[in-house]
Symmetry: C2
Subunit: 201 residues, 2 copies
Amino acid sequence: MKIYSKYIENAVDQISSLPGIGKRTALRLVIELLKRSNEEIEDFSNSFVLMKENIKKCQICHNISDTDICPICSDKNRDQNLICVVEDIRDILAIEATQSYKGVYHVLDGIISPMDGIGPKDLNINSLIERAKNESVKEIIFALSATMEGDTTNFYLYRKIKDLNIEISSLSRGVSVGSELQYADEITLSRSLLNRQPFVI
Amino acid sequence: MKIYSKYIENAVDQISSLPGIGKRTALRLVIELLKRSNEEIEDFSNSFVLMKENIKKCQICHNISDTDICPICSDKNRDQNLICVVEDIRDILAIEATQSYKGVYHVLDGIISPMDGIGPKDLNINSLIERAKNESVKEIIFALSATMEGDTTNFYLYRKIKDLNIEISSLSRGVSVGSELQYADEITLSRSLLNRQPFVI
């Protein structure tokens, strides 16, 4: 695709460097941006620089925050001794949206993935172990993706934590609520058979 | 979706203001951006400001360009008397990619769309008529989308140009090359029957 302006080409390259956005989509977005006023473009651009300059990570759970301690870790109404381990901030948002969790989080900032060159040292694992050593902590919930990488990370964390006197749990796997049985994959179905629950009315 | 940082929220709002990008996708992109260095973020941001500050429109055809006259209009190997009317720069890129057009273009910067409040005055129609009045111009090709809006615009342009002594043509409609007949819609199929061509071996 030959574009007749190096400025457009540069902007297209920048946008298409984001995951999941190809050159064609990027060009469509750039053409849309070109229709905006100078001031709007300034606001658009500045939002990223401001974010990068001002963003902090919570010193306890590594959640993204504008303060040193995030609103969740500093919330006295939440159970600070129940820690849910997640991959990134989006998982926190997903769990918070359920409104059914009142503990705190620990953000790993990724999962162990040898294929992508991500090992335990690249993740916030040491700080999790330090938190787990605090005797008041009662339970740690593994809430990582149900993938090979998620399972690997779960197992690694389990070995690091198992000797501390803490309950370790992970999200239940099973047939999604609202989905038809015939469309569930074999592994999910066999896991949901194995982990069957007493029937409650 | 409650995000725990107003900076992130602002960046997400900016990205999701682009067409076709929702809040979730925007958040994914913003998290990706956060992993980059300060310098990379500066480059990312600056690309849009630089583009907005430096971009020009070709004074002849309204194509986007870094110069006053775009590379196509200033190319002496192209037929300057054959003008292809398109909606925006992406259509130029699509036609150029075929390598089968050697004329020049005229970018309307949109099509007539009363639903979106876009009338003839919002488009580069007057400059097209001025170009068409030049006696050396031989043919104008309408290459707008095969939609209601495209047809409306074609008809409007036709009425403005028809009295000048210029050949007016439009892209042929028909069954796509490589597609199966049974999947063609009725209108396309009836147009391709009406416009049937002498069979050539």
